[in-house]
Every structure is written in C-alpha cells, then in structure tokens.
C-alpha cells in the first residue's frame, strides 16, 4: 500500500473533523461561562466591600495556581463518582458538561485578571468625572469604567481564549472524545504514520489558534481608546 493510500484509509476510518469540532464546541461554551464568571469576579475584586474582594482574590489565587489536570480529575473522580452528581442522563453529555464547567471555572480566574488589568488602563479622571456628575459605584462601573476597561483588556482576553482553546485537550481526562484522545488512539494503531498524524493534529490547532490571535490583535488596535 502506498503512503497516500495509507493516509486516505486512515482518515476515512477516523473522523478527525468531528474530534476537532468537539474542541471548538468546548472552547465556545467554556469561553462564555468563563467570561460571565470572570466578569463577576473582576467586579468583586474592584468593589469597595472587603469580604467580596477577599473572596474574589482567594478564588483567583486558588484556581490559578492549581493545574487544570487536577481540577478535571477532581471534577470526575472527586465530584462525579463520590457525590453521584449527574448533569445529564446521557453519559457522553454528562462528561461534556463537566468538561465545560471545569474549563469555565479555571479560565474565569484568568478572565478576571485580564479585565482587572484593563481597568488599570482607565485613567482616574474618568471615574472622578463619573462621580462628579453623581453616578454611584454600579453606574460608574457599568457606563464609564467597564466599556473602556474591556477595550483595554482585549489582548489579555484574546490570550486567555487561545489558552482555553488549547486546554480543551485536557478534557480527555474527563473521557470526552476530542482531538488529543483521537490522536493517541490513531498513533497507537498506525505507528508507522506517527509523524503525519501529529502534523495533522498540530496543524489543526494552528488553524484554530492563529486566527484568534490575529483577530484579537486587530481588534485591540481598532478598538483601542485614544488617549
């Protein structure tokens, strides 16, 4: 069998596109979850209430310093098997949802820090002006600080999204059928094509990650607040 024949039978047998589609879906839903949770955490960390600030800080430090692999294992072997907490009656959907939740929880800490670093780019005069016209904490945050802070945090947010897209491979710990697990079984059964298989999967991630990077660079320049 020639090399190209081997390749075509290999890719007819394994649905690589499907596996990558799972990674894209994980990225999409976890990104939404991480953004919502991360914004709440950022709001907590810049609020005047000491206990909320402490809780936000504790969350960020605890989650950011724990490896994602441990969080994923904790969710499956710790929460799922020990507490019998099922998120769906369907086995596959259950693990898929677990993976999304863990990815969202983990990356929310980074989203929070990204937004906070964006808040730091807003000059004090903006908040002072908002208070001078009589806005309280929430209106100041919502109408004056956050819109500018978000524009300033596009680059770190984009970096977080890239990290998230790559980290979806860790969902293999939660036995989600995604790209890294498929690559492993493909190489195990076709070890003579190991380079080709690695190259295909690596390029798959390049195709996902590079456009996100280009898009966020473009957006951060386009939406930059002129000061």
């Amino acid at each position: 069998m020639s090399f190209s024949e081997q390749l075509s039978t290999l890719f007819a047998k394994y649905n690589v596109i499907d596996a990558f589609w799972t990674n894209v879906q994980l990225t999409f839903w976890a990104a939404i979850g991480a953004f919502v949770l991360g914004s709440i955490l950022a709001l907590m960390r810049i609020s005047p209430v000491p206990s909320l600030r402490a809780a936000g800080t504790a969350y960020v430090h605890l989650v950011r310093n724990t490896p994602l692999t441990i969080l994923m294992t904790l969710a499956i072997l710790g929460v799922w098997t020990q507490f019998q907490l099922s998120l769906s009656s369907n086995f596959e959907t259950n693990f898929f949802l677990y993976a999304i939740i863990v990815l969202a929880i983990y990356h929310a800490a980074f989203v929070c820090e990204a937004i906070r670093s964006g808040v730091n780019t807003v000059p004090t005069g903006q908040a002072e002006a908002a208070r001078a016209i009589g806005l309280g904490f929430m209106p100041t945050a919502r109408y004056v600080i956050f819109p500018q802070a978000l524009r300033g945090s596009i680059t770190p947010l984009g970096n977080t999204l890239i990290a998230l897209a790559k980290n979806t491979t860790v969902a293999t710990v939660a036995s989600v059928a995604e790209a890294s697990g498929m690559m492993k079984s493909m190489i195990e059964f076709n070890s003579d094509l190991v380079f080709m298989i690695f190259f295909v999967f690596a390029m798959g991630f390049v195709v996902i990650v590079v456009p996100i990077g280009l898009l966020t660079t473009w957006a951060s320049r386009k939406l930059a607040v002129k000061r």
């Binding site: 960390r45 810049i46 005047p48 209430v49 000491p50 206990s51 909320l52 809780a55 430090h61 605890l62 310093n65 724990t66 490896p67 994602l68 692999t69 441990i70 294992t73 904790l74 072997l77 710790g78 929460v79 098997t81 020990q82 507490f83 980074f110 820090e113 906070r116 670093s117 808040v119 730091n120 780019t121 807003v122 000059p123 004090t124 908040a127 208070r131 904490f137 680059t155 770190p156 970096n159 890239i162 790559k166 980290n167 491979t169 860790v170 293999t172 710990v173 890294s180 690559m183 190489i187 070890s191 190991v194 690695f198 999967f201 690596a202 991630f205 390049v206 590079v210 660079t217 951060s220």
Partner: protein, 306 residues
C-alpha cells in the same frame, strides 16, 4: 506611555463619607453571610456523602502516604519541572536571538518554530513524543513519559520565553542598541552583551511566572502515565477510598509551591525596579501568553544600509 497607572481599587471609589461607610459595612456583613452560607452548604453536602468522616482524613498524616506516595510523586514533579526550566530557558535564549537575528532566513526559521510550538497544545506534543520515542529502544519504558514531559514542556515554554525575550529587547530604549553600534560593537555583540542582559532583567518577573506554568503543566504527565504527584495521590486515594481528599491534597501542594513562586516574582520585580534603570515588566494577565509588543526599536541593531 508613562501615564500614571492607578491601582484598580482606587479608580472606582473615593475616600468614603459616613453614609458610604455604613452602606459598605452593611454589604460587607451581607456578603460575609452569603459566603459562609455557600461554604456551609458545601460542607453539608460533603458531610451528607460521608466525606467528612475522620478516617477519610487521618491517612493524610500517615507516614506511609508521604514516604511511599506523595514525596516520590512530588520529587518526580519537581524533577521534570526543574529540568524543563533549564532546557526551556536555553531554548528560549537560542530562538529569541534567532528571531532578532540580522539574517532574514534565520529570523524566519525562528518565527516559524516559535509560532508553531506556541500554537500546539502541550498535551498533543507530550502524547506524540511518548508514542513516537516508544518506537525506538533508545529509552527504557520507565524513562519514556519523563522524556516526553520534558520535551513537551521545553518546546512550548521555550517558545514563550523566546517571545518574552524578544519583546523585552524591543521595549528597550532605542539608544541602547545605537550606542553599542556607535562604539564599534558588532550587531551580534550588541545583542548578546547589551540588549539581552537588559531584556532578561526587564522580563525576570514574567519569566518566573512562566516557571509557575511549567510546574503546573507537569501535571499533564499524569495523562501519559508519568508517575508525578497527581498520579501518586490518585493511586493512594483509590486504595484507601479517599480519592477526593487525596486530590485536594495534591491541589494544595501545587497551590503552596506556586504561591511561593508568585510571591518571589513580585518581590523580585520590586527589588529590581529599585536597582535598575530598565523598566521592569510586571507579571500580570495570562501566564503563558506574551502581550503583543509594540516595537519601539524594530531591528535597531541591524547596521543601517548606507
């Protein structure tokens, strides 16, 4: 760009008056109750499932656990992390300089290598090396996962460090490179003895937070059967029936070590700011990804064409 940057806590609120103090105190009490209620609920659920029973926790302090599981696992974790730190820095310095080279083909090669390894997930690389090197009988099967972990971590983190150094060099004042050329140094000498040392200083805090990433990512070795601390915690937990407690212990170990490293990075950045003229880049945002540098001094050490 030397605008005064305020800390986020002072941006949103002034010195509060008596009314605001009272309101903040009320919110504070309410949120303390909310946080306690949440923690209490988690405790209640754990109690209901029998996770709080003493025998599930006492083995955390047993000599058997630490001597035969946790310490050997932790040693493997630290071994992989320390070796990867050394190889990543070497890789990063090499490819960082390649990306700054006056020779265009060398620059292109550096760019392709660095961008490729930054885009590919570390786990994909680890699985590849693990299975690929297993085809040859160069390494013993016990060594394979270790080699794969170190290779995967080196290629990714080395590429990030290369980018860090490049952006560090680009953020230096233009005069540094020009002065070097003016006193007759070759572009290579300017890069190695003037620009790189200063870039290293400026990027030291970011470099240290990259070491946190390396330490954390050694846990990926668990997936390719490297006997690191997560694997040993799991092994002990499945035997004793307290897997949840063991995984929490493994997480705690990482948190403590990483927290110490982060503190060191902050101290170092303060210390170095007071000692050096170089603007120290504070490590914030997302470790593992480098902010897009706005080059002040693109290719400044290239000899201008007459």
């Amino acid at each position: 760009m030397n605008r005064k940057v305020t800390t986020s806590s002072s941006v949103l609120f002034d010195v509060p008056g008596p009314k605001a103090v009272a309101r903040t105190r009320l919110f504070n009490i309410l949120s303390v109750f909310a946080i306690l209620a949440l923690l209490g609920y988690i405790g209640y659920v754990m109690h209901r499932q029998g996770q709080l029973e003493a025998d599930k926790w006492t083995s955390l302090f047993s000599g058997n656990l630490w001597a035969n599981y946790i310490l050997p696992g932790l040693w493997n974790t630290l071994k992989a992390a320390l070796i990867s730190v050394v190889t990543s820095v070497a890789f990063g310095v090499f490819f960082g300089m390649a990306r700054l080279s006056p020779l265009a083909p060398v620059r292109w090669f550096g760019t392709i290598v660095v961008e490729f390894f930054r885009a590919v997930p570390v786990l994909i690389m680890m699985i590849f090396f693990w299975l690929f090197l297993g085809k040859f009988s160069v390494f013993s099967p016990q060594q394979l996962p270790f080699i794969a972990v170190v290779l995967g971590l080196t290629l990714y983190n080395g590429s990030v460090i290369a980018e860090l150094l490049r952006s560090g060099v680009h953020q230096l004042p233009k005069g540094q490179g020009e002065a070097g050329l003016a006193i007759g140094l070759t572009p290579w000498k300017v890069l190695t003895s003037i620009l790189m040392p200063q870039a290293m200083t400026a990027m030291m805090p970011s470099l240290l937070s990259q070491f946190v990433v390396i330490l954390k990512d050694t846990a990926l070795g668990y997936i390719i059967s490297y006997p690191e601390v997560l694997a040993s915690a799991r092994r002990f937990g499945s035997g004793e029936g307290n897997i949840l407690q063991m995984l929490l212990l493994a997480a705690l170990l990482f948190i403590v070590i990483n927290f110490a490293l982060t503190l060191l990075a902050e101290r170092l950045s303060k210390f170095m700011s007071s000692r050096s003229n170089v603007e120290i880049k504070h490590a914030d945002g997302v470790p593992g990804e480098v902010d897009d540098p706005r080059p002040k001094t693109e290719m400044m050490f290239k000899i201008p064409k007459a």
